[in-house]
Symmetry: C2
Subunit: 666 residues, 2 copies
């Protein structure tokens, strides 16, 4: 269903000018915000939204909608204006409350907060990389679920990206992979305006962007971003090329319409000011004394999106109904992709006494999960054999194998994490991805976005400490546990043994409201004997009493590989006549979320003789041991040597734990 109107550049420009007016009025009202991008990009964005974007404003959750990502999130008013005009539940009052507490129109677009916002953007590069993930999800689900005559998954992913997005390394990673993967239904409109905050891009940015994208295997075009007809034709060509992702360089003038500020860095991130606002409206042919002006004909023009959306949705609903008849099993699977049934989490336990690295346990667990959870899509940043992330029988997602459920992300941790966000945002996919724990540093901006958006993304983080051994301090995490625990809504889970790793996976999959770090050893660990220790299922509480002596005098708290050290220290202390409780604390976040009664039962306030042991920074452990407790940890970088030597030399030993306990009891 195409628009009722013939294509009219004149009408597009008039409509775009209304988007401009709304944007600059909102920024002025807030006395804060970024008019430059909406003014510059309004023309080509209007072409996209009125002639191409297949969406249903009255049902932003329609699964087969085209995805639209405003990667330069600072231009949020462009998006809010378009959402408002095309009939989303974003009112004029919402626009007027731009950037105010509790409004639907925060400074940068926020997923889950404003209907029609597909991802949270603002930190540059993230949105474009998310879009690569969305396009991957579409290609994968289409291959797996579509049948002849039933293209139930069939949509485009559109992006508006800025100079800043393209300078950021994460988009290099994601776009190189998008080219490799030949994601033909990804279309990027590059707002090529040659201005950044510091000034003209010639201060720092002189690369030939399109040539770079040719090198990546993309389809490239360049147009005048203020010429609707040219933009229209370019998008048609981009859509028609379904074997390559497309980037269209839309040459624009930042702040277009502002007589004194257009084309300057000054229009990027500050309100125009009352006088320039007025002059801009005059230049755009808008009534200078009217704020938030929307004439009826433009309201109607944009408002057609509602009719079209209803039509598209009805078409698709009918298609899907027929699909359910013809392919009931596939349809059921498709509809239940995002669900994690309890039986899928019923996993084989590991046998006490065996020596199993928790990364190996994770691999074994994945072999069971992958067949049971069709939404699960794995990958690794080129550490597949080390991360144990490839389930038996899984094949690689590739241009000639779109059904593959394993993504070779390459040595692109940041790109991986941002793409995983896009996979999760698309829906129908539960992504997990592996790398060495230390390289969470590379992924951190995207991990934060997952936490902020509340996405079910699972990080398989192996080689979790000096236990890595010979690779040395560049590869040995030290501060990473502590620094990720500090991040809101990030669940960190470091299992003590293979069976606690089961609980880690269960928690991660059941947690639909945010991401999880599974922090796993390289080295082998004993599978703990649960006949004498508490059941491993207790790990779901984050911290639990693993074993204790009657009338214990001291509490040893440990995570991961150091739980075995704590148990050995208990033996030593018992031999020396002390009575000990040992607490396994795989997740401080889960423990903190327990009722106070429970927490006090594990760490009674009157039991202040406490020793924590973890092969990482001590920062934060005072929360559990208090000012009088002791922490056996590592407040320096590691070193290169066999791991047993490192534990000895760096003083993370059962003896050190026992001695610390004795000192407290002395």
């Amino acid at each position: 269903m195409t628009p009722a109107h013939e294509f009219s550049s004149d009408l597009i420009v008039k409509a775009a000018n209304i988007v401009r007016g709304l944007s600059i009025d909102a920024v002025q009202a807030a006395n804060s915000g970024h008019p430059g991008l909406p003014l510059g990009a309004a023309d080509f964005a209007t072409v996209l939204w009125t002639h191409f974007l297949r969406h249903n404003p009255k049902n932003p959750q329609w699964q087969n909608r085209d995805r639209f990502v405003l990667s330069g999130g600072h231009g949020s008013m462009l998006l809010y204006a378009l959402l408002h005009l095309t009939g989303y539940d974003v009112s004029l009052a919402d626009l007027q409350a731009f950037r105010q507490w509790g409004s639907r129109t925060p400074g940068h677009p926020e997923y889950g907060h404003t209907p029609g916002v597909e991802t949270t953007t603002g930190p540059l590069g993230q949105g474009l990389a998310n879009a690569v993930g969305m396009a991957m999800a579409e290609a994968m689900l289409a291959a797996r679920f579509n049948e002849a005559d039933f293209p139930v998954v069939d949509h485009y992913t559109y992006v508006v990206a800025t100079d800043g997005d393209l300078q950021e390394g994460v988009t290099h990673e994601a776009c190189a992979l998008a080219g490799h993967q030949q994601l033909g239904k990804l279309v990027v409109l590059y707002d090529d305006n040659h201005i950044t905050i510091d000034g003209a891009t010639d201060l720092s940015f002189s690369e030939k962007v399109l040539q770079r994208f040719v090198a990546y295997g993309w389809h490239t075009q360049q147009v005048d971003g203020h010429d609707p007809q040219a933009v229209y034709e370019a998008i048609v060509a981009a859509r028609e090329n379904t074997s390559q992702p497309s980037i269209i360089s839309c040459k624009t003038i930042i702040g277009k319409g502002s007589p004194h500020k257009a084309g300057t860095a000054g229009v990027h991130g500050a309100p125009l000011g009352e006088e320039e606002l007025r002059l801009t409206k005059e230049a755009l042919g808008l009534p200078p004394d009217e704020a938030f002006y929307v004439p009826a004909n433009i309201a109607e023009f944009f408002g057609e999106a509602v009719t079209r959306g209803a039509h598209w949705q009805a078409e698709w609903d009918a298609l899907f109904s027929a699909y359910e008849q013809a392919h009931p099993e596939k349809a059921t699977t498709y509809l239940n992709l995002d669900k994690v049934p309890a039986q899928a989490l019923d996993l084989q336990t590991f046998t006490a006494g065996e020596q199993v690295a928790t990364r190996s346990a994770s691999g074994a667990i994945l072999n069971q999960l992958a067949p049971a959870l069709p939404a699960l899509v794995g990958g690794s940043a080129d550490l597949t054999p080390s991360n144990n992330t490839l389930p038996q029988g899984a094949t690689a997602f590739m241009p000639d194998n779109r059904q593959g459920r394993y993504i070779h992300y390459g040595i692109r941790e940041h790109g991986m994490a941002a793409i995983m966000n896009g996979l999760a945002l698309h829906g129908g996919v539960i992504p997990y991805g592996g790398t060495f724990f230390v390289f969470t540093d590379y992924m951190r901006p995207a991990m934060r976005m997952a936490a902020l958006m509340g996405l079910r993304v699972i990080y398989v983080l192996t080689h979790d400490s000096i236990g890595l051994g010979e690779d040395g301090p560049t590869h040995q995490p030290v501060e990473h546990l502590s620094s990720l625990r500090a991040m809101p809504n990030m669940l960190v889970f470091r299992p003590a043994d293979a069976n606690e790793a089961i609980v880690g996976w269960q928690q991660a999959l059941q947690r639909s409201e945010g991401p999880t770090c599974l922090v796993l050893t390289r080295q082998k660990l004993p599978v703990l004997n649960r006949e004498v220790l508490a059941p491993y299922q207790e790990a779901a509480k984050g911290g639990y009493v693993l074993v204790e002596d009657d009338d214990y005098e001291v509490i040893l708290i440990a995570t991961g590989s150091e739980v075995s050290l704590a148990l050995a220290a208990r033996d030593m202390l018992n031999d020396r006549g002390y009575r000990v409780r040992v607490v396994s604390m795989p997740s401080t976040e889960l423990f903190d979320a327990q009722p106070q009664d429970y927490r006090h039962s594990v760490l009674p306030p009157d039991k202040t003789a406490r020793v924590a042991v973890e092969a990482g920074a001590t920062w934060g452990w005072q929360k559990y041991v208090g000012l009088k407790g002791q922490i056996i940890g590592l407040d320096r970088f590691g070193a290169s040597a066999p791991y047993q030597t490192l534990y000895e030399e760096l003083g993370i030993t059962a003896e050190a734990v026992a001695r610390a306990a004795e000192a407290l009891l002395a």
Copy 2:
């Protein structure tokens, strides 16, 4: 001075095979390591080291040496073998102790640990980006210090980079900037072997790398990396092009020489095994039963580096002596670049009662520091006007203005941080660079390298909390203070007012052993009245008693903008009849480094009624308030609204602090 020998491909290959033998023997002895890169890259690396690299093995600190960076640090044995053979203080015994505790040959090359290692590498992409910084430093210092007939700064920077380096986003950022900056004396040898850990690069990496570098403005060539003559000619051409950085794609076979493993992922990161080791030596024409074999003629060939190095150094010493005569002032400045004289740190104080954002204070401080410290080189990741990082009168470092001391890094935080490491490693430059505090997430891998290497790098991190306001949660740091405090050897300093900001800069500049984060407000803060409060210089101790009532009952601890809140809370508490001590804690690291006596004088163990307030994650503050204390912080993401509203709505107020104190005293 050229080699005594005519160029002989045959000799090069024989020499390279000795490098190969040492590498695989060391990996086998350690039973750990990466033979693939040394075997693959030995030929072209040997060409570089025997025919181009101008260095002095007996004085690795010679300032005008060529820099060599092995960006793929996992191939460390390649570098160690070359260092050993060319006469550095890296013995055969050191090679034999590869990857062992205390050895000079750790798993990845470590700066400051092994003579001749110019930077720590391993986390991919960092080394190449460091090299961009080294080449920038060379260009800048050459422009500032060279005079006609006195090219005292005149060297190349060479890099061996891998597929992984080029996939990482940080090299996109750094290399795009290197092209923009036309760093003609940067030469990258790309070990183009089409293998990564997951397998062939066609799993994830199909871009046309050289075309991408053409887009960046680089000079590109492609050669057979096993053809010494071709490599030689390509390096000659690369050196001759001094207006563009050069990349030479050296097509190689990973693990070359290993009959069964060459060309496979299996040779990347695991020892060959005894049998394959033997077969490889046979294939390479090495005695299969001899480990660490170096025949006399090859020892002599590589050993010529010592003679050449002594000659080059002597030439340069003579040149510099003449330069000292002809240009004594410049020579003195040059020789003292890395020193920070006390008088340079004698800074104007700010007047009590004024309202000054600490980012503005930092800008004013920089206006005084820049003229006094010629080594100081600033920059920003495209947030110059927000970070206040451009000193008055400073000009941009550009191809046509190499004397400029300000670098427009573009929207490339990670590239900036890694380039700053390179600037610092080169010497003669004390780099600082600005971005929003939240975007330390993007820089974190490079910040960790600065901490690990102990580099004097200064991060100017503005917009340090929800005080940022309307830009919302994507731009509001929450967990960043805590997460950076967890990092070893990272100094975090968050001044309470403009005068504490002076101390922050003093500490950062005097700290030659590691990096510093200066964490600064967007919003204005009152300059505290030091007539009634403790002198601001006390901030150098990291934490100090700002003010107190006799017989105080409760301690309020605060950092940065929240110190003013704590002072207001004290007033409230005084009004309610409570007696209060207020501690300003701009740096927990500096405080922790004080003697226990001092720490106990500020936070007496018997005074357990303590409230900490900081507009960030509470994680870690228990270290100072204990289990019985209270922390007013933020364990959620922020929101978009004017900042005063955010402080109110999120409960970070003087009233909340006062109430928490009252609750403790109740």
